[in-house]
């Protein structure tokens, strides 16, 4: 009998090391998630101040036609100022500025949308929850400390006293921040939303998919089914594998130099961003598709050929349907990777401040990761929340896409 104790001990040791490594990585993931969630959850809540709003026809100055278009063109800055004055009587000019700062700068837009919704409101008085400025919001959420010297605070003592008296009157409340999901970017954290970046990423991925999937699928079919293996295919194969490992910023440079520089495509649009992401995803798709084509048993090809199908019929009737789940899985995983890529977007300009929500692939836009990057660069505490919330959204999409890939693989996979 040989002594097994040494070998068994080694096995046990290995097991513990592996378990330790797993626990360590799990620990880091949990820390990361906790950090993101605790920082980012604030972005879904916004602080509002209740005020009575009199839609004074004298201040509004809407022309008689009062069509929605005219309402939207009119400026409501004066009305907004008037409402703040009405709710805080007896302010001198200096204090009025301080109190006005407590409300969002975009109050006038809020008023505009309200009137556009219901023009009959003009001349009436209602109670309205007005969004607070981001600095006030952060004080209420407790993210800014109150007990530091006034000079180190964004909100001064007078504003704090106004806040406290408003709070005592029960006028401060928190509501769900729908704006985060329905607004484009903004200079003010309280009105900044992710929808613009989301749509930018959506259009970019749409372009990416419609370019990379057919091209990748057809390239893999050609390489796997039609071309005779030889020096040329070996060369192509090596290059495809290398391309899959090329840093994404290089693809960004390709987009900048070729698409924008040579072909004169516009800067900053999802069309170019999507094509660049498509270049980047192409090798992944080709490699995955070739692998899934190769996993289709040769007996199926023989069976089709033996009943007199042509090569093309064999491939399109039998081989592709069987390999499609694998190709799709590879494509979705490649697109999930593309969704998270920032560097190519930076190179083609999809990282600028864009307020409008893009309506198509040719409108200026940012993408999700570049929006997160932009927000992370901002100094305001309010954007820190947005950064984490944006990451949460991005992670959510990544997990969803990868889950879809797994489901497709499970559901459509052919059992032999």
């Amino acid at each position: 009998m040989t002594d097994l104790s040494k070998r068994l001990a080694a096995e046990k040791r290995f097991k513990y090391i592996a378990m330790f490594a797993m626990c360590l990585s799990l620990f880091f993931v949990v820390i990361l998630m906790l950090k993101i969630f605790t920082t980012g959850s604030g972005a879904f809540i916004r602080t509002t101040i209740e005020a009575s709003v009199y839609f004074d026809p004298n201040t509004i100055e809407v022309t008689n036609e009062s069509s929605i278009k005219a309402i939207k063109k009119t400026s409501y800055v004066n009305l907004a100022d008037q409402i703040v004055k009405d709710n805080h009587p007896n302010l001198n000019d200096e204090k009025f500025i301080l109190v006005r700062e407590m409300y969002t700068r975009k109050f006038d837009f809020q008023l505009r949308d309200y009137i556009a919704n219901d023009p009959n409101i003009i001349g009436k008085t209602i109670l309205m929850d007005i969004t607070a400025s981001s600095d006030l919001d952060q004080i209420v959420k407790g993210n800014y400390p109150r007990d530091v010297p006034e000079a180190q605070r964004k909100i001064n003592d007078y504003q704090l006293s106004v806040l406290d008296s408003l709070d005592a009157d029960g006028k401060i409340s928190s509501t769900f921040n729908l704006w985060f999901f329905t607004n484009g970017d903004s200079r003010d954290p309280e009105t900044a939303g992710i929808l613009g970046a989301l749509m930018g990423s959506f259009y970019a991925l749409l372009i990416c998919f419609s370019f990379a999937f057919p091209v990748g699928l057809l390239a893999s079919i050609y390489l796997e089914e039609f071309v005779r293996p030889g020096k040329l295919t070996d060369f192509i194969e090596v290059n495809i594998n290398n391309l899959a490992a090329v840093p994404s910023i290089v693809y960004g440079l390709l987009g900048l130099g070729m698409l924008i520089g040579v072909f004169g495509m516009p800067y900053q649009v999802p069309l170019v961003g999507g094509l660049v992401l498509g270049f980047m995803t192409l090798p992944t798709i080709i490699i995955a598709s070739r692998a899934s084509l190769r996993s289709v048993p040769p007996s199926i090809r023989e069976a089709a050929l033996a009943v007199g199908a042509t090569k093309t019929q064999t491939v399109f009737h039998h081989v592709i349907p069987l390999s499609l789940p694998g190709s799709l899985t590879g494509t979705i995983i490649g697109m999930a990777q593309a969704l998270g890529e920032t560097a190519p977007l930076l190179m083609v300009g999809m990282v600028a401040f864009v307020m409008d929500i893009p309506g198509g692939a040719l409108d200026p836009a940012t993408g999700l990761p570049s929006q997160i990057y932009l927000w992370s660069e901002s100094a305001e505490r309010g954007f820190l929340e947005k950064t984490s919330a944006g990451i949460m959204l991005l992670l959510g999409f990544l997990i969803t896409m990868n889950t879809i890939a797994v489901i497709i693989r499970r559901k459509l996979e052919v059992k032999w």
Binding site: R228, P297, S299, I300, R301, E302, A303, A304, L305, A306, V307, G308, A309, T310, Q313, H317, H318, L322, V414, K415, W416
Partner: protein
């Protein structure tokens, strides 16, 4: 055995090379209409290679070079005017391992008629599928589940489905490459019985490892050894009175 039956497929001076390696060396076999011809011999003797020359399945192998005469009803099947898809419509094939398409039973049988445009209407196609499955002895077993995936059938049923798929396009010749090697004895017996029935309408060439099977089902037998055809003749003669000593050694189990 009547010796003046019509010739279905005549081969002569057949040489096959895989690259520089010779796989078939000067083989000549004649296949007669409505007969079962079996090709027997030890592994690697070239019998499958030879079989695959008859419907040009070797075309897909780049390094495979086929030379010789192959005349189907007097027409050279390697001739320049021959379209290989049409040839395979005339010469069907059944493979060693059952390889139904992972589609429905119906689609498996209907595929050939569909691509060759044999049926013009859906009812016509339905009739072909039903008739074909009947002739393959499978209809009664699967008539209620024509829309089930074919890979769910048993091995023997799958192989009969493959035979049905081959005869659905009404070929003249059916090539069978060890069709029973993956099946149990009962399924094998069913297939052998089917081959006997199919003989009435088709010319059958079967490669088999089992000498008993060759003896049971074939009218003629060709014995292959290392790429050469050693002996060809009426099956009963080959098994009872082999002329060549190597054939005798093989059928008596001394080599193989």
């Amino acid at each position: 055995m009547v010796e003046n039956d019509t010739l279905a497929l005549k081969t002569n001076n057949v040489y096959v090379h895989y690259g520089s390696k010779m796989a078939i060396n000067n083989v000549a076999v004649d296949f007669h209409k409505n007969q079962v011809t079996s090709l027997i011999g030890p592994s690697g003797c070239g019998k499958s290679t030879f079989l695959r020359c008859l419907n040009r399945m070797n075309d897909v192998i780049d390094i495979c070079k086929v030379q010789g005469e192959f005349h189907l009803n007097g027409i050279d099947i390697y001739g320049p005017e021959i379209q290989v898809e049409n040839l395979r419509k005339q010469v069907g094939m059944v493979f060693q391992k059952p390889n139904p398409f992972p589609k429905t039973i119906y689609e498996n049988v209907a595929y050939g008629p569909k691509i060759h445009g044999i049926a013009s209407t859906k009812t016509e196609l339905d009739d072909i599928v039903k008739d074909t499955l009947n002739r393959a002895g499978l209809y009664s077993e699967v008539k209620d589940r024509l829309d089930d995936i074919a890979t769910g059938l048993s091995g023997g049923q799958q192989q009969r489905l493959c035979i049905a798929r081959a005869i659905a396009i009404k070929p003249e010749i059916i090539l069978m490459d060890e069709p029973c090697s993956a099946l149990d004895p009962i399924a094998t017996a069913v297939i052998e019985e089917l081959i006997n029935e199919l003989k009435e309408n088709y010319t059958i060439v079967i490669v088999t490892h089992s000498m008993q099977q060759a003896a049971r089902i074939s009218d003629k037998t060709a014995y292959f050894h290392l790429g050469e055809m050693i002996e060809f003749g009426v099956t009963s003669n080959i098994f009872t009175n082999p002329k060549h000593e190597m054939t005798e050694a093989y059928i008596s189990g001394r080599i193989g």
